[in-house]
Symmetry: C6
Subunit: 272 residues, 6 copies
């Protein structure tokens, strides 16, 4: 990049190391995949650390990370860009995906199964030998920067089959599967992130473990690591454990009285 | 903020203390959550005081409050902003959410489950460690002002499961649960707001209590505190209690003859 | 208002007294509600006089009346306004609701249950203590003129439950219920409006009474007062009563042969 | 109208008398309704002469006729008008309905039940005592020209109940019912319009009569008068009656082999 | 037309005689219909020669032919035209239908039942005595050129009843029914078009005949004349008959293994 | 093409020979079809080499290849082009299809059954004797360049019947059917593309063969050749065969635990 030209991805660079504790060999496998710029699927439950993992990898590889939360109202133009009127007439504005493709970022499409088809097929020519992004409205074929990689994620647990990835899309990706970290590791993470002692963190993790057994038995998802950190932060600040867990877990997770009372039981088992 | 620049949130500041009687420790818990700028869900039935509570907290914390009533026709652009043509060409106009994010307000999304997906996923990067709002159309990443907080509300009682929050959204929030205040407190509120005596207020509250037993047995919702204040105001002005209650409760709440006659019975029990 | 500025609601002022015969104490109740600018629902069957009533009240209170017939294709912009291109570039044009809010009119949303959600939630901040209308696209918070009031109407008889008002909307209103006037009063109205004798009017009203018994038994609605006036006008002009009633009632009301012959029976009973 | 201003409805004036044979007193009744500018519904089967009737009345009353074929894709803007860009910037263009309202034409909405709701409620304030048309986007209230009348039509035979007129719309109209003319009159019309002898015309009418018995028994509609005229024209030009009827009736009306052979039988009964 | 003005329909003129072998008296009947500019429906299975027929008639009558393939995404503006921005501001551009109406072409709407309602009702005023096309957005009533004729086609075999023509549209047309030509004629056509011998053509036709028996018994359509010509061309170039038929018939027509093997059987019966 | 004018299809030319191993006589058949510019369907499962085949043919014929991944949100304008505002006002921009038609490329519509109807009927006049592309919005009839050919593909295995090609579209094409190459050939391809030994490639192919037996018995598709190449690349880089296959096959292909364990069994059978 010419030194005189400002870096269009500057805002997407990750300055400080994101805290991430590996659960297995996922860091090494990601590095291998990135060596070949292999498109990657990250699968796993909500809040288990997929986003944090890709942030950590982007930081570790020194690459900017362009993250997009997919949704059914997102259009292909939201990804690739559009003509916009400005003071000097219309001008093309690269979308987030195009910025990453052109300037060599990692583009991360979070919850890709929520997106519409035109969003997902737009990535097809980026994920085979061609590595191109056609900007049909601009009449330009963008060849991907050598550093560009595409990463997508989804939660295989709760999306309906109607929202599955098309086989022709899936086959363009390698995949890594994630799950919540094991108890010791998760307690370590909670202790670190919430700045609380390991024992308190372990109690919180024990509540989460129980809640995850209720998945598909009344809960869409169990308590996530992020929720445990919220709870830890409030307890550290002097809020009672019961109030903290009620606020960050029970009430946040469910509207169902039976589920709420089951969760309250898990809390009581740890904190009396 | 530079003194020469007018405050873009001036119109959203709450000048006079909104009347609010706490029902428990919700004020302290909100203050703890705000200390960490923790995203917050307020759950509870229609008209029980959620909006008044967040107004009171915003006043008490000295923060502007940007309120948005969510609905299924609301787009992400309605929240984040858009380019508009003016005399000097097109210019970007921050939406209400962006105003709050950029200048440090509390943004309150009322009845968030009514919104479409693109409205709800737009808040994801604001509700994790990143605290950023990507304005994709403008090519800008807005880092949240240190004072910014996101609060959402919904009524767990009557929205269909099709309109539930996505698990991946829920897990980004802590939650406080609200209900109608207890009889004595509610009567005190009605007496204060409608400027009527406590005894009259207590009779009105008794009617409301009965009506709330009919919830899910023919009524979507029982009589709210707000309705009681309306009734009190009319009675104070000399309208007969029967006409006042008919107008502000019975006819406003239901079109069903059986329900209407049940409500009329509750009124007659208090006012003869 | 500055004398040099033309009144933006001039076209909405009602110059001559609209003919209205009260059926009960609805005029007094409306006046009380208006004193507090209480939002009001008018409920009742089609053609029973709700629109005429609100016109009469607006005339009597000396307030301009901005009427909007709601429908499912109406957008929030149709109510609040939009930017439009003109010779000098784009300029904001207040919608009918904004005109009424800003300059102190009564805004009447006829058949409000036909409107989409974004139309109905736009009125929420106008119908609680805030009395504000946020023009998000213009970045303006309009504080309601002290004279502004919101009135809505619907017909509880034939809209499906899918088109009911949301509980959170209903609870912001007091309500008045209307029905067709009693026989004597209705005949008086028909005689006055169609300029026919009371006896003829009474015969027409008798037909209408019978037809209203068929509601929900083959007819969506019975013969309205308005139809009776049409019939009276034609009879006054020399059209035979049978032809007049056939044209203004039977054929206008139904396509069903059985219903048509029932209605013809009612006409024959009065006019032979 | 100022002589220097060209008549904006000039193109909608009917120069030569449209051929119309009354079947009853519909001409007199229409004239009475027009005296009071009463909104009118014309009901009856496809091709029975409703459009021709309103053309004849407009010619006879010396009024321009603005006809619109309604459909579910028609918007309110298609009726009332819109801002359009031209060389001098944007300018308002009256839609067909507005032209008729402003300059005193008869506006005829053909098959009104096919239109969407926003198209039909736009006519409400034109069809009661107000006789106004609000152009919300232009901020103008057009008061109807004294000569303006609204006429709508539909075919009660084949639209689904989902496409019925709303009761609140129906009650704003008087109605005239049409059917195919009786045999002698219809033969006279066919003979006149196709320039064939009465005997040939009578044979064609006999075929049509039989076909109309099949309505709702396999045919959506029977053979219309217009089809008979087509057949007559071809026979006059030397095409065989069998080929003429096959082409203008049988093949045009149905794709069903059984229905086609029934129709062929009716033709054979007349022409061997 | 003024010699100095270029012919706007020049591109739509058919220079060389399209090959067409009449199957009956359809050429004479079309000529009679055209004499009266009678609107015409061409009915028949896919690929039986309807398009070729109308091309031949347009050539034979010396009229330009404007063809439009209808589909459910086509709007009325696609037919009649729209305002477009160009260097000198906005200018009206006639759509294909308007071009034909204004300058005297034959407009052919292929597969008209695939179009949306606004596309089909736009042709109503063109297909009765008025012969006008209202350009509502332009405020112009185009009177049809004396040479203009409207022709539409559809395949009665496979469209669902939901996609039938409205009775009020059908009754504006005369209709001609087409089917595949008889064996001898079809072989002659294939021999001519593919430049192969009559014997080979007859074998190909024999395969097609068998395949058409499978219509509605596993195939949506049988082998069309066009497919036979493709096969003949490949065989003439030296591709084996089996490969040619596999490629142009079997694989093109069906994905069903049973149907494919039936078709292969028909091929084997002719070519061993 | 004039030497001074840059080639608008330059970006679509294929510089280096794409690796392709023929499985039968498909290369010769394609060449025959191209001689007549016959429109072509390529049918076959995902990842079996259809795209690679058409790239190879385009390279071998020296023609640029314009590829479009079809999807249900793609509009006709995305194919044919649109007017866009630029600094000098609006200008027409040819879409990818128009570029190919005008300048003589091969246009390849990948997964054509995913496209909407207006996308597919737009190709009708390009696929019969006319070989024209009407640009209705521009008022231009583009005659196809003599070198232009249209090729489409789809996977007959998993699209629903609702997404089948219309018979009237199918009959305009000849078709070639593809399947995965036989074991020896596929191993040769994997060995070449992943730069691994034939023995390792053969083991990978054996896994794929087993997985394809599960198609329609729990898997939408089996392991594709592309996935085998991914696996080979990782193994070559030192990732264990088990991890490589887990990442590029098992986790990428399925979320179902039973299917995953079946696939793991196939891997274990080869690599222990």
């Amino acid at each position: 990049m010419n030194a005189a030209v400002p870096d269009p991805l500057a805002g997407y660079r990750i300055e400080t190391e994101p805290f991430y504790r590996p659960a297995g060999n996922e860091v090494a496998l990601y590095r291998q995949a990135y060596r070949h710029r292999m498109p990657l699927i990250l699968k796993g439950p909500t809040g288990c650390g997929k986003t944090r993992f890709v942030e950590h990898m982007a930081w570790s590889l020194g690459r900017p990370l362009v993250t997009l939360a997919c949704n059914e109202d997102m259009t292909a133009s939201d990804l690739v860009g559009r003509y916009l009127l400005d003071a000097n007439g219309t001008a093309w504005h690269d979308g987030p995906l195009t910025l990453a493709v052109r300037h060599g970022g990692i583009c991360y499409l979070d919850e890709v199964v929520e997106a519409r088809q035109d969003t997902t097929v737009v990535i097809h020519p980026l994920t085979d030998a061609r590595r191109i992004l056609p900007l049909d409205k601009k009449g330009e074929l963008v060849r991907a920067h050598p550093d560009f990689q595409l990463v997508v994620s989804y939660n295989p647990g709760y999306q309906s089959s109607a929202k599955d990835m098309k086989p022709s899309t899936r086959q363009r990706f390698a995949a890594l599967e994630f799950d919540y970290p094991d108890s010791g590791l998760e307690a370590e993470i909670v202790a670190h992130e919430a700045a609380v002692g390991f024992d308190l963190a372990a109690k919180l993790v024990a509540i989460a473990r129980c809640s995850r057994e209720l998945k598909h038995r009344g809960l869409d998802e169990g308590v996530s690591t992020r929720m445990l950190i919220y709870a830890g932060v409030l307890i550290r600040d002097g809020v009672s454990p019961r109030d903290s867990c009620e606020m960050t877990m029970t009430r946040a997770l469910t509207d169902d009285p039976d589920m709420a009372s089951a969760l309250q039981g898990f809390v009581a088992a740890q904190f009396g």
